[in-house]
Symmetry: C2
Subunit: 199 residues, 2 copies
């Protein structure tokens, strides 16, 4: 069963049949047979279902962006990225659940937490690869963030080797050079720019 | 076998074993056992292998960005996106192969082609969800583009319902409002902004 259905945006989709081709705790692959608003003849599609996720932009009082350097197994490389993680709760995610997951991921991965006078700004959500998976990530800007007395607490399944604050100029230089190259961080930057939050 | 291995960025990764859990023409799911530069004890990971892809930013002579409105089955919604498609050739993709795939996808999905005096600017590549899949997309800016005498030619597997040119202001408004919400389009915009190509 799909992890969530809240993102369905349009009327006129009809599932005719659905077969689980593969499932483990990380991914479910289904063959779906359906009709759509512009395809009245039923057709088949392979869909990879994944949990929803949250990506946090932690910004410090002096305007730096915190990035974590993380080993990414599928590409056998380490990337500089914003902290992120899956949301374990199923169903439609409330603002409280999204913010709770975001604060937890940020604290665990960076050792920072939202300051007492800090605020959380929604940057919306995005789909990582909408042609093959329903995976989506909520984007949150948290500002200002401060070191947490609890420190960081990395999952055993993660390998974060460094946490560092970057100025806006350094951050944009890493995007321009291609050093930053994950959809989470690029999408969060796109939204902040278009929303006029950076300048 | 993974579709490509060219993206491996770091030394020090050792595959100890690999088992195919599921495979069809669209996705291969493997259980990989490996060590990494910072994890000397072998551990397991589920990896979804996918073909590489190309995303094209088609910009017209008068500075408009062409977007296609496309039905996306996994999320049962239609999105405004830059034209994109998978690269069928395996192995490491040369600049010629990437540009060829990009020109083909743009022509098929929008009915436009690169103008005679047009140029193709690389915006690098990105990973759609590096924690679970090796999927990556090359980003190309093509400018100026002009209507092709051949017109468009949509794949039977696609459902593109509209093609339209948007000014930079309209395009940024759609990103800010959340109407544009796919990693391809957001990542291309992020790179163009950080590289100083928009203003």
């Amino acid at each position: 069963m799909p992890f969530h259905r809240f993102i369905l945006g349009d009327e006129g989709w009809r599932i005719q049949g659905e077969e689980v081709l593969f499932a483990n705790p990380y991914i479910e692959v289904h063959r779906v047979e359906l009709t759509s608003p512009v395809r009245s003849q039923s057709f088949q599609w392979t869909v990879a279902y994944r949990k929803g996720a949250v990506v946090v932009v932690p910004r410090t009082e002096d305007g730096r962006f915190l990035l974590v350097r993380q080993e990414r197994v599928p590409i056998q490389a380490s990337l500089w990225e914003f902290p992120a993680g899956q949301i374990d709760e199923g169903g439609k995610h409330s603002w409280e659940v999204i913010c709770g997951a975001g604060r937890r991921e940020m604290r665990e991965e960076t050792g920072y937490e939202l300051g007492v006078s800090g605020e959380i700004i929604s940057l919306g959500h995005f789909f990582s690869s909408a042609g093959f998976t329903d995976e989506h990530s909520h984007l949150l800007l948290m500002s200002p963030v401060v070191p947490s007395p609890q420190g960081s607490a990395h999952d055993s399944g993660e390998a974060i080797t460094e946490v560092r604050g970057f100025t806006l100029g350094e951050f944009e230089g890493m995007i321009a050079s291609g050093e930053i190259r994950d959809a989470n961080t690029l999408s969060a930057y796109a939204r902040m720019t278009a929303m006029g939050l950076l300048r």
